[in-house]
């Protein structure tokens, strides 16, 4: 039997406020299979974003394990975690986090530049650019390649962020309230697009959201309360 693309095993995370320990996650177990779209529901402060950051190797758990394809990766060194994050995970954030100085296509291409030397990138520049254009076309932005984030609407910015997350063909996309900053119509469009990508590419998605309706459309819903999975 194949191991889940991404899994958390008894993951705990605490922060320290002076000498006082503040537990955020109290032993979370979670697995996301290939091609599965999982919704992570929870109130503010439940630890959703913290869990997402731990799963994306942006932070390290206080205890417990994070596994990619069944392999423990949580105790890797900083450089190795960065490399793994680049190859394995795509991030989509509520506030897009595009770099304002770059155009839409440059923001997407940035993902391809991260672990490559100048020579490597130069050799592959044509194929990389073609891939970036194709993905931007896939998210409906083929006419907006040269626009900077300030010249794009909220929905368009989020599409650029999604295209950026997809360029490196990640195994898992971690989306932190991707529609939280959009109006309902645009949010629907973006979600339809995410469902389509999930279907077509068989990508695993872990979707943090407050929206019960949206969560119900996912393959599975995981609820987080007070740092624990409750259902």
């Amino acid at each position: 039997m194949n191991a889940p693309a991404l899994s958390a095993h008894d993951v705990k995370k605490s922060y320290w406020l002076g000498k006082r320990e503040i537990p955020i996650l109290k032993g979370v177990n979670l697995a996301v299979e290939r091609g599965e779209m999982v919704a992570l529901l929870g109130a503010s402060g439940a630890g959703k974003s913290t869990l997402l950051h731990l799963l994306g190797l942006l932070d390290t758990p206080t205890s417990g394990e994070i596994r990619f394809d069944g392999q423990p990766v949580h105790n890797f060194k900083v450089g190795a975690r960065a490399k793994l994050r680049h190859q394995f995970v795509g991030f989509v954030f509520q506030f897009y986090h595009l770099i304002p100085e770059l155009t839409a296509i440059q923001n997407v291409l940035l993902a391809a530049m991260m672990q490559k030397s100048v020579c490597q990138y130069w050799k592959e520049r044509r194929t990389t650019r073609a891939a970036a254009e194709q993905i931007l076309d896939e998210v409906g932005l083929s006419q907006r390649l040269s626009h900077r984030p300030a010249e794009l609407s909220g929905g368009e910015r989020q599409r650029v962020a999604i295209a950026r997350a997809l360029l490196q063909n990640p195994r898992v996309v971690l989306a932190d309230e991707p529609t939280g900053n959009l109006d309902s119509e645009t949010a629907d469009d973006v979600m339809q697009m995410l469902f389509r990508i999930n279907r077509e590419r068989q990508l695993a998605f872990l979707l943090v959201t407050h929206n019960e309706d949206l969560a119900r459309k996912c393959h599975r819903v995981v609820r987080l309360r007070d740092g624990m999975v409750v259902g």
Partner: protein, 457 residues
Amino acid sequence: MYRLFLAARYLLSRPINLLGIGGVTLGVWALIVVVSIFSGFLRVVGEHVRSASADVSVWFLPDSARFHDLQTAIDEVPNVAACSPRLVHFGLLNRPGETPPPPPLLGRGAMQGGDTPFVSVLGVDPDLDRKTTALDAWLVAVATELRVKDLQKPLARIDGLPAILLGEERMARSGLRIGDKLALSTGRVERGEGGGRSLVQVTGEAIGGNRQDAPVFVVAGAFHTRHTGYDGNTAFVHIEDLRAMLSLPPDAVQEISVKVEDPADTEATADRVQRAVRRELGFERGQFQRAPLAYSWHERHRGFLEGVEWQRALMKIILIVIMVVAAVLMYATLSMMVAEKTSDIGILCALGGSPRGVMTVFLSCGLSITAIGIVLGTVIGCLSAIYLEEFRQFVLWLAGVDLFPVKVYNLDRVPHELDPLWILQVAGVALLVGAIVSALPAFRAARHDPLVSLRGS
């Protein structure tokens, strides 16, 4: 790849970076231009001093010294080509009948010499002196109307009166012409019968004048070395006239000029001449009190040349302050950039960037600003130094303002000397300073928690 790409984008999209580039450019420019002018000035001044000096000068000869005895000893020293005697005296020049002006204030510099009536009167034998100095060249390097009539006998008596040669600038400034008479007010030390010393006024009785008045000389012409201070403060008279005037015995000498055959061996020759003179005068080995000294031209003017060199060193220190200001500017602009870009740090980490990569982005920005500033400063600095004279002429023509009054220093143009080693040192220091001030904000960026950036929005 992303490090250089982002650094370039940050650099190009923020006009405030021009401030950092401008600061580094200004610092490098100033250090190159000003030091180049000082180096050029030092070289030219060295040449001027050299042009007015004998290769080796023997000083502090005792009263008993006689030139022909010493000449025999000096001529035997290896590398000596010729030597000539000199008497050195001082006095105030004025037109006969006029009251002598007061002596100058202490400390009037040699560079702007010639604006005081006080002169160093050198008694020379032209036939011998032209073999040890560039006397012939000095005599022809003047305006035609100030040139001596007989170049072979420039200090021959005129109408029974002793001749005097003055610096061209002094003559022009005082409105003197050939044939004008000048009185030399001076005194000399006379030993009394009891061994005591007293200062008595020198009169012209011994050289054809009367016993009450100061000796009178006729201006025979002008000379022009390239050393303005020397020209302004020096007057040449015939050594026989000065000996007679000062009641010195025949063949008495106070200073000897020596010409060497191989200039590269001047210092060693000076040592050998000194030993020969001391031996000839009966000074024992190790006896230094009142012993004659032989100096090379460079040693003789060491104080003056080192003074200019110290000014150059001081200027370097002052100009480094500009570099410090540029560094502060750069630090401020880079710190602002890091503060503004903290949100980008989070996403870079999420995309697979490491703290070291983030640091490299900002470090590359700082180093690029420094490198551009260094290249611009060096190019503009070199061009400014080379074309400063043309620029001075242009400003003079346009606004009538002389940025660098070259005549004050007897220069033809603003001097410059570009020293590649100094340019490399300036570039190296600028790069080091740039690296340090870039590293601090870059290091801060690398330590920034990406989660704070990602949550912050």
